[in-house]
C-alpha cells in the first residue's frame, strides 16, 4: 500500500514540532497535523484584545535544551530569548524580597532579611549546582528499562549506575534528600527567610497537585539550577514575541528541513491493523497513511481517545487510566492601561522586568494548597507574574502593557465544576490578591482573560488542564513516565510513538521529549546516525 508520508506527527505543540524537525532533518517525509488554527500548543502568542499580544498559556521558556537550539539552529529561525533576571516578592508587611542578576546584590538583599541566609545561599548554590550536574545527564538520554536484560538496556543502566557511583558521598546523601523530602523541609535545613523559601519552593510545586510541605517536591527545585548550568544559552527567560515565538522558530526550522505543517487538521483516529499503525483519519474523514505515527498528545488523549483501547493490552490501558493529571493551575492575562504600582517598591523600576511572585511565606502557599485539597480554588493563590511588554514592548501598544499571571491552585475538579460564575470568582480572587500589594491594578485593567483548567483542556487539549501533560511528580518521572515499561517513546502498537511532555524528561518548554522520541524513532528505523552529528548527550 502506498504511503503518504514516512511519519505523521500528531499535534503541533513545541514537542511535536521539535520531533518533526529532527525527523525531517534526517531525511524523512514528515507531516505535522494540528487541530487548531495555529501551531504552538500551549506555547502560543495570540492577540486576544486588539493591540495586546498574550502568551496565552505557557509564559516563560524554561530549560529549552541547548542541543536543540544548536542542532535546529533556532536563533536563525527567529528565536530570541530575553533575560528575565530578577524575582520580586512583595510582602503584606509593606516590605519586599527580591533577587537580582548580580549575586552580590542578591546576597545583600537576603542579608537585609537574614544575615545567616545570605551566606547559606552561597553554599546552597554550590550544592545545587553539583546536584544539577549529577541529574542533568538524565535529561539528555532515553531512560533505560530497569527490568530488561537486553545488553543495550543493561549498558544504559550500568552507565547511569557508574555516573551516580562517581558522586561524592556527601552529594549522594544530598541527592537522596532531594528525592525524598518536601521543598519546605529541604529549604528549612538551610534558610529562615520566609519569602525566600516560599518563592523558591513554589518552583517545586508548579504544575503538581502538591503543596510545599508534600514529600518529593524538593526535587523540582533542581530544575531552576539546571537552567543555570546551561548559563550562556539563557535557557531560562522570556521569548521575544511571547512563547509563540519559540514555536514559530521551531516550525520554521522544521519547514526548512522539509516537514509539512497542516493547521485546522484535527486527528480523529489512529488507524491500526494487526498491531501495526497504518496512519490517521482526520475529523473530516480524510485518511493519511504512514508506517510511523508520532503522537505529542498526552496518554489519555492518545490511548483512550485516538486509539481503539481494545487494541491495547489491558494492563497498559489500566496504567494509562492511573496516570495522574490533576491540573492545579490557571492563567489570568491582563491588558493594562498602565503599570502596576507596588506599595513596597513604587514606580516603574527594574523589578517589573523580572518575575513577580506572590509567595510571602510557606504557610501562605500551604494554605493555598489546603483550599485545593478540598475542591476549592485558593482564596489567596500563589501568583507568578511577568509583564512581557516590559521586556518586549512589541507585545502591547506603546506605553501600554500586558501582564501574564500564573495562578495556583485552581483544581480541575473544583466543587460545582468550572462554570462562568466560578471563573469570574477565580478572576476576582486573583485581582484581589494582587490589589493587596499593588492597589492601582484594578483601575489599570483594560481587558482580562481568565483561563481555568477546564478552559486549558478545552482549548489546547491538555487533559484535566495539566500544563505538563501529567504531574511532574517522582512517581511519574524517568522510567515511570508516562507508564512503567513504556518510557522509551514506543507503545504497544508497532509504529506508534509518543513524543509529548508526558514522556521523559517531562514538561516545560524544554523540547527534550520531542527530540529524544525522534532519535528513538530514527534508531529503530536504522537512521540514527543521520539524526545527530555526534550531538548525543554525553553521560
Amino acid at each position: 500500500m502506498s504511503q503518504d508520508y514516512d511519519v505523521i506527527v500528531i499535534g503541533g505543540g513545541h514537542n511535536g514540532l521539535v520531533n518533526a524537525a529532527y525527523l525531517a532533518r534526517a531525511g524523512l517525509r514528515v507531516v505535522v497535523l494540528e487541530r487548531r488554527h495555529c501551531v504552538g500548543g500551549a506555547a502560543v502568542t495570540e492577540e486576544i484584545f486588539p493591540g495586546f499580544r498574550f502568551s496565552v498559556f505557557s509564559y516563560v521558556v524554561s530549560l529549552l535544551r541547548p542541543e536543540i537550539i544548536r542542532e535546529l539552529d533556532l536563533p536563525r529561525h527567529g528565536l530570541h530569548i530575553l533575560p528575565l533576571e530578577s524575582t520580586f516578592t512583595p510582602l503584606p508587611s509593606g516590605d519586599y524580597f527580591a533577587t537580582w542578576a548580580d549575586p552580590d546584590e542578591t546576597r545583600r538583599e537576603l542579608y537585609r532579611h537574614s544575615p545567616k541566609d545570605a551566606e547559606a545561599y552561597v553554599d546552597f548554590g554550590q550544592l545545587m549546582v553539583r546536584m544539577a550536574m549529577a541529574v542533568k545527564p538524565l535529561l539528555g538520554v532515553t531512560p533505560p528499562d530497569p527490568t530488561s536484560l537486553s545488553p543495550r538496556q543493561l549498558r544504559g543502566l550500568l552507565t547511569l549506575g557508574r555516573h551516580f557511583h562517581s558522586l561524592a558521598e556527601r552529594d549522594l546523601y544530598a541527592l537522596y534528600k532531594l528525592m525524598t523530602m518536601s521543598a519546605a523541609d529541604f529549604l528549612n535545613e538551610w534558610f529562615e527567610c520566609e519569602p525566600f523559601k516560599a518563592t523558591k519552593s513554589a518552583s517545586g510545586v508548579i504544575g503538581t497537585f502538591l503543596g510545599p510541605r508534600s514529600p518529593g517536591t524538593a526535587y523540582v527545585l533542581l530544575h531552576h539550577y539546571m537552567g543555570e548550568i546551561d548559563g550562556v544559552f539563557r535557557a531560562w527567560g522570556f521569548a521575544k514575541g511571547g512563547t509563540g515565538g519559540v514555536s514559530e522558530a521551531i516550525a520554521s526550522a522544521a519547514r526548512r528541513f522539509g516537514a509539512e505543517i497542516r493547521t485546522d487538521a484535527p486527528v480523529a483516529q489512529v488507524m491500526v491493523k494487526d498491531g501495526h499503525v497504518q496512519g490517521v483519519a482526520l475529523g473530516d474523514g480524510t485518511e493519511i497513511r504512514a508506517k510511523t505515527v508520532s503522537c505529542s498528545l498526552d496518554p489519555r488523549r492518545t490511548f483512550l481517545e485516538l486509539v481503539d483501547a481494545r487494541r491495547l493490552p489491558e494492563e497498559f490501558v489500566a496504567a494509562v487510566q492511573r496516570y495522574k493529571f490533576r491540573g492545579s493551575s490557571a492563567k489570568v492575562n491582563l491588558a493594562l492601561d498602565t503599570l502596576p504600582n507596588f506599595t513596597s517598591l513604587p514606580g516603574a523600576g527594574r523589578h517589573l522586568r523580572g518575575s513577580i511572585s506572590i509567595s510571602p511565606s510557606i504557610d501562605y502557599l500551604e494554605r493555598a494548597y489546603d483550599d485545593a485539597k478540598y475542591g476549592r480554588f485558593s482564596r489567596r493563590p500563589y501568583l507568578d507574574i511577568v509583564i512581557p511588554s516590559m521586556l518586549d514592548p512589541g507585545m502591547a501598544p506603546p506605553g501600554k502593557h500586558v501582564m501574564s499571571i500564573f495562578v495556583q491552585y485552581a483544581p480541575y475538579a473544583v466543587e460545582g465544576g468550572w462554570t462562568d460564575a466560578q471563573r469570574g470568582a477565580l478572576g476576582d480572587a486573583v485581582i484581589d490578591t494582587l490589589a493587596e500589594v499593588a492597589p492601582n491594578i484594578r483601575s489599570a485593567i483594560l481587558h482580562a482573560q481568565v483561563i481555568t483548567p477546564a478552559d486549558i483542556e478545552q482549548t489546547i487539549g491538555l487533559s484535566e488542564g495539566n500544563i505538563f501533560q501529567g504531574e511532574l511528580a517522582l512517581h511519574q518521572l524517568f522510567f515511570l513516565r508516562p507508564v512503567p515499561g513504556w518510557a522509551r517513546y514506543s507503545t504497544p502498537i508497532e509504529g506508534l510513538y509518543q513524543c509529548g511532555s508526558a514522556t521523559h524528561p517531562g514538561g516545560g518548554i524544554m523540547g527534550a521529549p520531542g527530540r529524544l522520541a525522534a532519535l528513538q524513532i530514527l534508531e529503530e528505523s536504522g537512521r540514527a546516525r543521520a539524526a545527530v552529528g555526534g550531538g548525543r548527550a554525553p553521560l
Binding site: 542579608y111 545567616k116 545570605a118 551566606e119 552561597v122 553554599d123 554550590q126
Partner: protein, 380 residues
Amino acid sequence: MQGAAWRRWAGYVVASSYELTHDREYAAIRSTAALIDISPLQKYRIDGPDAARLLDRVITRDVSRCAVGQVLYTPWCRADGRVLEDGTVSRLEEQRFRLTSAEPNLRWLHQNATGLAVGIADESETLAALALQGPSSREILSQLVDASLDALPYFRLTPACIASCPVVVSRTGYTGDLGYEIWLHRDHAEPIWDALIEAGTPYGLVPTGLLAMDIARIEAGLLLLGVDYISARHAVIEAQTSSPFELNLGWAVSLEKPRFVGRQALFEERARGSAWALVGIEVDWDALERLYTNIGLPPQVPTVPWRTSVPLYARGRQVGYATSGCWSPLLKKSIALAHLESASARQETVEMEVTVEHRRKRALAYVRRLPFFNPQRKRA
C-alpha cells in the same frame, strides 16, 4: 585607553578609575598619596571572654601573640586545610577584635563559635573604610589626627579623631607602600573624605580607583580572592582549591597552636610537601621584544592589569599558570603572580605564553620571589 568605568565589588558599585586613565592614580600611590574607598570589605566585630579563642580556632595565625593594637594578616581554612579566605584580624582591646575579609564570613564564624562566650557583630554596612596610601600619606594624615603617627609601627592601629569624628587608624594597606587604613562610621564618611582631600591636595593626594590599586598589589605580591585563588567555598572541584602553603602563606600558619580548623591536614601537608607554589614571574624584555621585532612591530605591553589564566611552560610541558599581571610602570617590567608545580618552582626560568599579533608565542620569563616591590618606607 580605558574609560572611567564602574565595576561591581561585593554588591557595591565602585570606580575603576576616577579619571579617564588610571596612570596618574597609580603614580600617586608610589609618588605622593592616593585615597581609595574600600568600604565594600566585610567587617566583623568579635568580642567577649572567648573572642580570642574563637579567632584562634578559625585563623591559622596565633592570636595569643597578637598584642592589643596589633593587626595580623592571616588566611583561614576548611577542615581539609584548603583556604577559605585571607584577611586581617585587629586586636582593638583585650577581648575585642575586628576581622576583615573580602567575602561574608558571618556564618562560618557562628558555626565555629558553638559553646563559646563570644559576640559576633557584622559591621560591614555601618563601618566605612578609606585607604590612604603612598609616601606622603603620613604627612597628610598627621595634619588631621590628634594621635602621633610617627610612633605607629607597621601593622599596628590607634584610635584617633578626624574632623571631630572618631576613627581607628591602622598602618595597613593593599598597595605594599607606606599607608594607612581609616575605619569610620558610614555617617562620617563624607566629612572625613572631604577633610582628607582638603588636607591632602597640596601634597598631591589623588582619589584612586581599583585599577591603580590592582597594579600596586601585584607589585606587592598580594593575593586577590577569586582571581589568584578560589575559596574552597566556591570551588566545584578539589583541584580548584589551595592550601596556605601553596599560596606562599606558610609563614602565616602556626602549627604550634594545638587546635585550629585545618591544622591536622596542614600538619600532614607540611611533612609531605605541597603540590604547588605561588611565585612571581617576570617576563624577559629582550625575549618579548624579539617576538615583536620578528614580525616588524614595536613591543607592546598591556595598559591595564590583566586577570586571565595564562599557561607557563618548562621544557615543552605546562608546569603552571599565571593568574594576574601587569606592566609595572615603576619597575619597568612585565610581572605576574603565578602558580607553579612545586618541582618547577625552584627553577630559575620558565616560558610564559604571550599573544603576539593574534598568535600564541612563548617568552622567556624569570621565576621571582615575591614581592616585586617592597620599599623601606613601608615599615619605616
